[in-house]
């Protein structure tokens, strides 16, 4: 085992460069720990973002040796292969400083996709009985545990080429709502996800599925939306 890792980390905003550091190797050490070591001991001005440390908040995603990952749950040994560690900000988002990106557009597209629950009942009504094994419930459940980390968005070629594309996370959420019998917003959402930049822009490269740290499959969700959208069009429900 090497005693130090050769690490290069992006410094700057849109313009900048990689700076090089030697970080002592530990048996238990994540990529986030490496970044933390640099900030605490080598360069106090290094900026990065993290919160929960356990893969629940989706704040610490970075590009590690060319691949977008959650850094709090990426052991160094998994990515170095004994070689160097190159850490940059996520792609497809503006860099605020060093490793911290501006996620505003990512969340705005979520709204643009109308990917939020529209109630049909109030707190005064009883809860809807929903059997857990119905096909719709199973489909919604398969996509629900998204932590909005932005990894799929950073991995997506279509996002890179098409600035209007809503992206895998927002569309995946729309698909879970399409399968939520309590929701009352489907007509508007169908228009939003069928429009320019919606599900039909996806080229099925499946990078989202390959990189999602929670093993969700946004590509399959988007395929589901395409089916619903095409069928609505053929029925004359969409123009």
């Amino acid at each position: 085992m090497t005693t130090t890792h050769k690490v290069s980390i992006w410094r700057g905003g849109a313009e900048g460069d990689y700076a090089h550091y030697d970080v002592p190797a530990r048996e238990s050490q994540t990529v986030l720990d490496v970044v933390t070591y640099v900030q605490r001991h080598l360069d106090p001005t290094l900026t990065y973002r993290f919160a929960c440390r356990v893969g629940m908040c989706g704040s610490c995603a970075m590009t590690v040796n060319g691949v977008p990952r959650w850094t709090c749950r990426t052991h160094v040994s998994k990515v170095t292969g004994g070689g160097e560690l190159k850490i940059g900000p996520l792609a497809n988002m503006p860099v605020i400083k060093d490793l911290a990106c501006d996620m505003t557009e990512f969340f705005e597209k979520w709204q643009k996709a109308q990917s939020r629950f529209i109630p049909t009942k109030t707190r005064k009504n009883p809860m809807e009985p929903i059997k857990p094994d119905t096909p719709a419930r199973v489909a919604a459940n398969a996509g629900i545990e998204c932590i909005n980390c932005g990894v799929c968005y950073a991995a997506c070629d279509t996002v890179r080429w098409n600035a209007d594309y809503l992206g895998p996370a927002a569309l995946n959420r729309a698909w879970t709502l399409a399968n939520d019998e309590r929701d009352g917003g489907w007509a508007d959402r169908l228009k939003a996800v069928s429009d320019h930049g919606g599900c039909h822009s996806c080229r099925s490269h499946q990078s989202c599925e390959a990189h999602c740290p929670n093993q969700l499959n946004p590509a399959a969700s988007i395929a589901g939306l395409k089916r619903l959208s095409t069928s609505a069009y053929l029925k004359g429900e969409l123009k």
Binding site: S28, Q29, T30, D33, F50, C57, R116, I118, T122, P129
Partner: protein, 576 residues
Amino acid sequence: MERIETDILILGSGGAGLFAALHAKDARPDLSVTIATKGLLGKCGCTRMVQGGYNVALNPGDSIERHFMDTIVGGKWLPHQGMAWTLCETAVERIHELENEVGCFFDRNPDGSMHGKAFAGQTFDRTVHKGDLTGIEIIGRLLEQVWARDVAKLEEHRAIGLIPAADGGGISGVLFIDIRTGAFRFVAAKAVLMATGGGPTMYRYHTPSGDKSMDGLAMALRAGLTLRDMEMVQFHPTGLLAGPDTRMTGTVLEEGLRGAGGYLLNGEGERFMASQEEKAERATRDIVSRSIYREMQEGRTTPNGGVHIAMSHLGADDVRVRFKGMVERCADCGFDLAGGLVEVVPTAHYLMGGLVCETDTSTAMPGLYVAGEDAGGAHGSNRLGGNGVANSTVFGGIAGDVMADYAAGRSAPAEPDETVLADEMARAQAPFTQPADDLHALRDELQDVMWDGVGVIRTPDGMQQATSQLDDLAGKLNQTGLADMDLRFNLTWHDWLNVQSLIETSQVITRTALQRKDSRGAHFREDFPDAGVPEESRFTTAQLDSGELVISDEPVEFSHVRPGETLLKDDIAAAE
């Protein structure tokens, strides 16, 4: 310094803060509502990290009275009974709101009704959940609703001071550092909610989100407000122990591992719980934490100084299926939970203490409200698993309603006390007037002092020593400067401010722990191991007066039920 204005200002974007924003905006759409948060909206803080679930009496066989009695008995008769009642009663409406209006996706029984799971210390299986990632579901859905509304967002804004009105008549607003630019910003508001979420990260091993550093309670102290129950720090028995210099250390391995029959083994490979306790590893959090701590004190430890958790005797393949999330997280970090041994250690999890408030979330400072982990009283000496997220969402919603009424009745925010504003700015800039030194060594020292002196098992000598060590640390911090540097998104500056908040609140924890001369719930003293007489229960209070901490205690008011009595009709009938 930039100055902006809003009608309602909310500090924090966990369950309490987001619910307050929704309720305030829905109650009075004409009022401007601003949420300020230390990280990104809904992505920092601890509601998001809730694994277990949400306690609520939904089943016909359960009742609000039963949930309430479990909360009071679990809190060892110390809870503020009005708050505990409001928590249990309003949780029923709140869960309907989460399901029907916010759109949360909770696990169902085969017949389609809401699934309630069993959780320690409760007499009914009432913990509603989404798998073991309940917090992500609640915050994810709340976020979508808040984004859709006209709520202003100040993300990556750190609150550094509650600014009273110049005329002394209440609050005028809050001073912030805009973390991204490093600039100060004063937000004037008619009503302010403190919902920054406690977070006892001053211990060597801790579970809360890394951004949490008790800033809210430190601000409340400096504003002269009274805190209660501050000695009550809940330790979770099984935090991951991965060695030094890793943020993995301290993070929770779930309770269910012990519940399912997992073994705890000391450094000599001995199942120490089995010889000490009838329930062995299945004993409550406080008992297991103390047993592990004793093994550590006796030196019977694993390589990194803790004990092992072993699951393989239950069948590694079964463990992999049953505890998928935990097994995967351990594997990502290099540990084999299903088939091997994983080192664990007790870890500081939740602060039961907090700011004194009324059941409508108002505080002694007019215009200032508090909800969630920052508020003291609802849990007494011990919080039941599943009552944390119920507490934050219940009282966050109440705060939103109450603040809307309060703000609607006022024409403008009060004029700020400019002296306090200037003092708070100077305090935050103090490190730039000192020579640069090793801040991180200081934080490590603080975490050792609290772990050793005011931890799982407390002794008078240990606490006395901690008191003076903390005074020394406060002095050292004031001499520990930061290099003159770029203030934009400067995490090290914020680390300095975090350590200051933590030292200030650690002093309160230590002094109130000395004040309490019994052992209750989360607080255990070797010199006073008995719980005392429940009828004579008192809660501790702490207030900063002219720079001096004043520690006292007050009798618990048994407004709903007295020790020895119950509100459960069946039990009353049985007794008669």
